[in-house]
């Protein structure tokens, strides 16, 4: 009997405490800075080193570079850059290895769409996804630093 009464007491007390649910989606959820959301791509910083495509565990990044249109500058600039969000697991390894922080994560996590075609995001979409960009990127895998792959 005693255990039953104690249990009833706990639930009664819980009834009067403050509720812990969030009012999402009426109130947007604020994520901490390090949250790994959908990526943001800055094409001007990209040097087409292909590290992100190589490290991706699910091979969801495809990119094509072209020679720099400016004849005096060397190196390549990015032509197309696609991430297939049917495969992307938001694991953050691409931002970890990017030496120029061209690809960074944001804190946006709402990716639900009505058709699978819309999940294949191209360079323009990723460039425009520039709200809530993560500040702390910690690209320890970037080749210059000499850290772990």
């Amino acid at each position: 009997m005693k255990g039953l009464i104690q249990g009833l007491g706990v639930t009664l007390k819980a009834m009067t405490t403050k509720k812990v649910t969030y009012a999402y989606p009426d109130v947007p959820l604020k994520m901490p800075d390090r949250f790994r959301g959908v990526q943001h791509f800055d094409p001007d910083k990209c040097i087409v080193c292909n590290q992100c495509a190589r490290i991706c565990p699910t091979e969801c990044i495809t990119l094509v570079g072209k020679p720099n249109p400016d004849p005096e500058k060397k190196g390549k600039v990015i032509d197309t850059y696609d991430i297939n969000f049917e495969l992307c697991i938001l694991c953050d390894l691409c931002t970890e290895v990017c030496p120029t922080e061209a690809i960074v994560m944001t804190n946006n996590f709402e990716l639900a769409v009505y058709s699978r075609d819309e999940l294949f995001k191209d360079r323009e979409w990723l460039e425009n996804n520039n709200t809530n960009v993560r500040q702390d990127n910690n690209n320890i895998g970037a080749p210059q630093k000499g850290g772990a792959k």
């Binding site: 039953l4 249990g7 009833l8 706990v10 639930t11 009664l12 819980a14 009834m15 405490t17 403050k18 509720k19 812990v20 649910t21």
Partner: protein, 337 residues
């Protein structure tokens, strides 16, 4: 009400009774709507969340949406099922629950019938619902429904015995089975109500009532679906709603019965609070009993079937019989002697 009830039967009285019954039915349906909402809200509060609050302000239209969903569902009847019995079972389950409400007196004047065998009337009619449940399980032509139906039939029959035995004590104290008289016999102060002298009976009544209603912690028929399907598996849409409606109306009936038999009916807890009308006290007590049922559901795990049957026959029935003996001895020695 008393005026109308005590008049001889005539055509215009029948019309008035019919209208009153329909009004009451609508009130009961309104009660069920908001009882379902309140159950979800109260259980939500006990779990640190708000309960339904998206449909309508404060979630007030939640049940309306749920009932609408049930109404527009496809009405499927299994191919080899016994069609007549399949259709009959939910209605047979609901009808006694509504008829039982006739005997509950809400105040001194507000009642539908003052039977002098009210307790037996309740016991007899609520047993018909048990038949309906077994019928539903049989008519579904599904071996798991049959198993679930048999099991819940066994549960409900076993718990009717202590339920009725626990009321015998109050009947003995009052000297009549009429519910109005039982309320009249209880005094004005809250310690004169029947739950204190009949404390064992009250305890047995509450436990047996929770089991009769198939509510947690005795909700094996509903939760059977976690393993072996319960009696209402093949029922979908509005037929299923009928079974649930019957459950909530029985909750109302049990709350009414508990308030009337043990908690003093329309009496205020102290005479100086008598300026508040009796109906308010009656409704408050019923609301408290219903809240207690929700509270139990939020807290307790489910009882296993063998523990359930063992508990009924080995604990509750002896306790109830003990209560009858003690009441008889006390009445003989202290009151009459």
């Amino acid at each position: 009400m008393t005026r109308w009830v005590e008049q001889p039967l005539s055509w215009e009285n029948v019309l008035i009774y019919a209208v009153l019954a329909v009004v009451f039915l609508l009130l009961i349906l309104g009660y069920v709507t908001y009882a379902i909402l309140f159950e979800r809200k109260v259980i939500g509060w006990m779990q640190f969340r708000h309960g339904p609050n998206r449909l309508g302000p404060w979630g007030l239209f939640q049940t309306v949406a749920d009932v609408l969903k049930l109404l527009i569902k496809e009405d499927t009847i299994p191919r080899k099922a016994d069609k007549a019995l399949f259709i009959l079972a939910p209605a047979l389950c609901y009808a006694p629950s509504f008829t039982v409400l006739a005997i509950i007196p809400y105040t001194r004047e507000l009642y539908f019938a003052d039977l002098n065998v009210a307790v037996v009337y309740y016991a007899a009619l609520s047993a018909i619902s048990t038949i309906a449940i077994v019928l539903g399980g049989w008519a579904s032509n599904n071996k798991y429904s049959l198993l679930g139906g048999m099991r819940s039939g066994a549960q409900m029959i076993s718990y009717e015995v202590p339920l009725i035995l626990s009321i015998v004590g109050t009947v003995m104290m009052t000297g009549s089975m009429s519910l109005r008289q039982i309320v009249e016999a209880q005094g004005d102060w809250f310690w004169e109500w029947n739950f204190l002298p009949q404390i064992i009976g009250f305890g047995v009544f509450i436990v047996a009532a929770v089991s009769e209603l198939n509510r947690s912690p005795f909700d094996l028929p509903e939760a059977e679906s976690e393993l072996v399907a319960g009696y209402h598996t093949e029922y979908s849409g509005f037929r299923f709603a009928f079974f649930m409606l019957a459950e909530y109306v029985y909750m109302f009936a049990i709350a009414g019965l508990a308030s009337v038999l043990f908690l003093g009916g329309w009496h205020p807890p102290a005479p100086f609070l008598g300026f508040i009308p009796g109906i308010v006290w009656m409704l408050l007590k019923m609301a408290f009993v219903i809240f207690f049922l929700f509270w139990l559901r939020a807290t307790m795990p489910r009882v296993r079937i063998d523990h359930l049957m063992g508990f009924a026959w080995k604990v509750l029935v002896p306790l109830a019989i003990l209560n009858v003996f003690v009441t008889a001895v006390c009445l003989e020695l202290f009151i009459k002697g």
